[in-house]
Structure formats: C-alpha cells, structure tokens
Subunit: 375 residues, 2 copies
C-alpha cells in the first residue's frame, strides 16, 4: 500500500474546521484506492505567532521542503495587521518553495447557483495559471520625501516625453512607491506550463496584461508570450487587457480554456472567477513547483467571524485536497473526490449556508466521504 | 443665451460616429434649455499621427487648456502598437490637465439587460472615483540585466526578512520592472472629493487597495484614507481588497455608494462595473479637474471592426455629454439628457446590437434627441 506523508497547516479562523473535512475525505479515498496518508501537523498561524513571535521559521520551511505537497487551511486574523500573516506565512511559503504556478480551476459544477444569467456548467470550465513568485508580489517598495523621488523621476520619466513630463509635485510632499519585477526565466516557465496544459485541454491560451499602460513590465511579458506561442503553433492564443478580461469572465466565460496571468492580475481575476463558479466556498487553488514542494489550499480566507460555528463550506478545501493527491500521483482517487463533490451538490440535500442550505461543515464532509465510498 | 465653446476630439475607429450623436443630443438640449455650443474640432488620433507623426503637441494641449471641458470620442487603432495612442493622447491629456478624478457612475438603467441574476436597477447605483494621475500609470519602468537588478534587490528587499529574502535569480537573466507611486497630496485630493460626493449621496465610502501585499504603496493609501475619514465622522467607510471587490460587484453591488480607488485598480473594476450596468455601450466617464480642464468620454475603446458601420451604441457617449454639460453648469439639461436616454431604453424600440436590437447609431441619437425635445 502506498504511503504518503503530508504536512498540514490548518492555520487560522475556520482553517482547522475545513482542513478536518479535507483530511476525512482524503482518508476515505485512501481506504478505497489503497493508499495511506500520514498527516503531519504544523502549528503556524495567528495563535502560534502571538505566542512565540514566529511566523514561520527557516527550520520549519526546511523541514517542509522534504515533502512533495503541503495541505493548507487558511491564514489571517483580525488581531494582527493585514499582511503580516499572509506575507509571513502564505507568501513566504510560495516564495521559499518557488511555487511558481498558482493553478486555479474555474469550473461551475452541475447544480451550483451561478450569479450569471444564461450560463451553465458547459460555459464555465477553464483554468487560470497565475504566476506566483514575481510581479508586484516581490514586496519591494518604500516611502520617500521630495529629494529622492525627484531624482527618481528625473532619471526615469521615460514614458511621457520631455515635452509633457510628469506632473507630480515632489517638492513638498511625501510619496510611497512600489516596484514590480518579472524575469525572463520566471515568465517563460509559467507560460511553458500553460501551453503544455492547453495541449492537454482545448489548445487555447489567453494571456492577461496591461501592456498599453504598464508597458515596461507587461511589454516584456507579451514578448515572452509571443516567443513561447511560436513554439506551439497548434495552440490558439490571444491577449486580454486585464480590465477587459473582467468583462469577458462575466459575459463570455465560455471563451476561455487556459488563462495565463501575471501574479497580481491573477489574484484579482481568480476571485472574480471564483464568484462565477458559485463563490469562494467552491474555489480551490494549487501553489505548484513541479519539481519541488507544492501547496494546496482553498482560495478563500480564514473567515474569523464563522470560526468554531461548524458552518462554512468545506468544498473548496476538499477539492484542493483532490488536487493535492493528484499531485502525489493518485489521479483516479482525485477524480473520484471531485465526482463525489459533484454528486453531493447534485443531490442538494446537504449544503452549507453559502449555497442556500443550512447544513454543517462536518455533515458536508461526511456526506462527500460517504458518496465516495459508495461510488 | 449662454454660449459655450467645447473642443471635441472624435478620435479613432467609431469615435467620430458616436461623437456625432453626442453633439446632436447636446445641441438639442441647448435648443430646449437655451444655450448654444460652439464645437471646436481637433484632429488628434491615429490618422493624424500616421500623417504628421504628432500624437498631441504641447501647443494643442495649451490651446485646449483654455476650455473647461473637452469631449472625447475614442482613441486606439490596430495599425499602431498598443499604448502609443492611448498614452500619447488619452493619458497625456489626463496628466497634462491634471484631471485627478476619473468619475464613473455605475448605474443600471431601467430596461437594460443586466448579466447578473436577481439584480435590478435598485441594486446597481453607485459611483467609482478613480484616482487618475498617479499609481502605476506614471509610466516609470525599464529593463535590466542582472547587475542592476541585484543591487536593487539588495537595497530594497525589505519585505521578506533577512532569513527568507527573495528567491529571484538575477545572475543570468533579464528582468523588466515597473514602478508605481502615489503622493500625499494626490491621494488626499481624490479622497476628499469622494467624501464630499458621499455627503451628497448615501454617506458611504468604500476604499479599494491591496495593502496586505503591496503594503508600501497601499499601506500609505490606507493611512491617508483613515485620516480623511476622521474628518467625516458621519460617513460610513470600509476597506476592500481589490480581489474581493470584484466578487462584491457581482454578488452585492447594492452595498456600494461611492468607491474610491487607486488608478490601476480603478481601471480594472470600472470595466467590471460597466458590464454590471449592462455593458460598455452604456458606460460614461469623466476625467475631472475641478479647477481646470476636464474631459468626458465613453469608457469603451475605438472598436475598429465596427468603424463606418453605423452600428455601435452611442449611449455611453451621449451620457458622457450629459456629464460634460453638467460640468459647464447646465444641470437641468444634463438630467434631461439622462432621462431621455432612460426613456429611449424603456421604449425599447430603437436599440443597437449590443442591447439585443438591430438599430443604427444615428437612429438611437435621433430618438434620444427627439424624446428630449418632446419631454
Ligand atoms: C491572502 C493574500 C496574500 C493572497 C494573495 O494575494 O495572493 C490571496 O488573496 C490569494 O489569492 O491567495
Ligand atoms: C485606454 C487605456 C489607456 C485606458 C486606461 O487604462 O485608463 C482605458 O482602459 C480607460 O479605462 O480609460
């Protein structure tokens, strides 16, 4: 019998409750498909931080790097300033393990309420591949008084020509700035992954950028996209400005197959995508390093106000669990979990509040595990 | 009789066709409400650029700065690389005239098809105030080989602590970077405008940022927001991460009254907002400098493929025209144009293809002008 060791970080808020259901369903899948998971718990999150002052130590990260896939609940707590835990744990892990693919299936399951008129599961079935280690997520920025900013402006104002320049008054005021960066290698690898994925799907890759305004960073992105596209002449491609793609996600989700996007725009459009597929309670995500340690999570947050109420939807987490075991090589078991989720939703007996029901987190987990075993 | 001189830049693609209808309706409003508009045509756009090499000269901008409000069609042409015309004309004007408010009403009119289930005009009626001169729109960026980027990283990697650092390999590769900047003054003025607007509406301002990740630039934004909010204790406020707000625009547009947003996020969420109000054919925008030269435009592009077909929807442009004459002080006439648009839509006789009809641009303009005169 295959044996897997999987580190699990339940995290904050509702994290432990949803992770418990995810483990339950994976364990059931193991029973059915003949594998066994040894869950190794890690305490990182708000409480651990408040008690010890540690977000996540290098030792913990090193230890985690022995494993192929981490199962993550959710990170974030009202007692701590926004960003501290998210950056110190979630983004730290994404960066440390160089999980350069953030894979987000946008799939409307049969029986799920979609906020869009006239759209059915046949219309909403695509994948967003979000670059996950670069762009405006590198955390470089600061504040400056006039002197520094003026120099920076003098040196850099390349966009508006000498005639018009920039009209930012820097003499008397403070400014804050932020830098985004993408590299050739970082851009190429996420695009190659996307084209490979499209080859296995419907051979269509849509790129997202804002090359008409953020021309330096996304002009580069476009060039790299074109270069990779040339190597895949059988794959259809198009460019989408990030503003426009928010419209198409709502109006024509059926246009998309694989969407490749820089990190920050990916963050934005996948939340919108989650809504189109029925809400955050149903949206899983994988942070993937194909040759290293990956990490799977629901894309929603820690919802502190629902903590301990056994109320929230565990489906995103269970689905993320399916992605996790697929990564471990248990494809059949993964498919089986997804079809048990679909069955649970179709039967429409056991649903949480966000899906219009009044059932509990544990009941949904139990029901999906039951269906899986009976399938 | 009041006399106004209004410069008009029809621009590219369908620009001249929609601007013709906008002028027609404003002229009708003038007839009815006793004012006269002298339209002063400017040739700037793709053809002018290809013929003369000029995007928009400083002389033209100086000339335009004599006027209170400019009427703009649309800019953009397939023969020219993305960004050249948009930056060289549209953004150049926004920056040159320091039009720091980009005002975008998101209002679902009675009788318009909304892509969202269960939402009615009562649910979709808010205003986005987009900062329009700073942020990632300042056009500062570039490319670098390893040497430079390494220094930059060394100096700046403040986010991930010394232990984890950044995992970007800069030794062997090229990078592209982009810088965004916001200033205290630039942030305060757009927020003050937003709170003043909320005081006249439903006393609720929602701020958009991504302070949990782009902490330098948007942490500053939040601080300024809090400072201005303190001065308006009667106004309800909240923060929205940009990823989350795309969900709420779809799920709960009724939550919003005034939404204040940094430039780039504003670009993204107002396209989504346009879709929620029925599509780009119905979405006007104003680039406003309350003490200088403003500019009004439909927020859609130049749609080159429809050029010359007398097919596209002129309503966004006509509505932008209403905003323009309101800026000139003709509030009653402006309201009258909006109500003629509403009447035209309600009668549902004369609609363009995007609204499910098969009528022409000119017929819609004629019909709205007729209704206006008969009202
Ligand atoms: C919590 C936050 C740092 C994170 C992000 O911005 O990536 C989240 O929104 C996501 O999409 O996983
Ligand atoms: C055309 C483009 C430069 C512009 C922008 O990004 O601001 C447009 O999308 C808009 O929203 O007015």
């Amino acid at each position: 019998m295959a044996q897997y060791k999987v580190p699990v970080l339940p995290g904050d808020g509702i994290g432990p409750e949803i992770i418990a259901e995810g483990k339950k369903v994976i364990d059931a899948a193991g029973e059915k498909f003949g594998f066994d998971v040894d869950w190794i718990e890690f305490p990182h999150g708000a409480d651990h931080y408040l008690e010890t002052g540690e977000l996540i130590s290098e030792d913990s990260l090193k230890e985690l790097s022995d494993y192929e896939a981490i199962y993550l609940g959710s990170i974030g707590d009202d007692r701590i300033a926004p960003g501290v835990l998210e950056k110190g744990i979630l983004l730290a892990a994404r960066f440390y393990f160089d999980q350069y693919i953030n894979l987000r299936p946008i799939k409307l399951l049969e029986g799920v309420w979609c906020p869009l008129k006239d759209k059915t599961p046949a219309d909403v079935d695509f994948v967003v591949v979000r670059e996950n280690t670069e762009d405006f997520y590198i955390g470089i920025g600061g504040r400056a008084k006039s002197g520094m900013s003026k120099d920076l402006l003098e040196v850099n104002r390349t966009l508006y020509n000498a005639k018009f320049g920039l009209d930012i008054e820097t003499d008397s005021e403070e400014i804050a700035y932020q830098i985004g960066m993408i590299s050739k290698e970082g851009t190429q690898r996420v695009m190659e992954y996307s084209f490979d994925l499209a080859e296995k799907r419907n051979k269509h890759v849509s790129s997202v950028d804002k090359a008409n305004v953020l021309s330096d960073i996304y002009g580069f992105w476009r060039e790299e996209f074109n270069a990779i596209a040339e190597k895949h002449p059988d794959v259809k491609t198009d460019f989408n400005f990030v503003d426009a793609i928010t419209m198409w996600f709502v109006k024509n989700p059926e246009w998309f197959d694989v969407v490749v996007t820089p990190n920050m725009f990916g963050d934005i459009i996948t939340d919108l995508g989650a809504m189109v597929q029925g809400g955050l309670g149903l949206a899983p995500g994988g942070n993937i390093n194909p040759n290293g340690t990956s990490m799977f999570e629901p894309i929603h947050g820690s919802a502190p106000k629902y903590k301990g109420q056994n109320k929230v939807n565990p489906i995103a987490t269970i689905w993320a669990g399916a992605m996790l075991i697929e990564q471990l090589g248990e494809k059949e078991a993964a498919d089986s979990i997804v079809s048990a989720i679909e069955q649970n939703i179709k039967e429409a007996k056991v649903q949480t509040y966000d899906m219009g029901g009044s059932n509990t987190t544990t009941n949904v987990g139990d029901d999906i595990a039951r269906i899986l075993l009976e399938q």
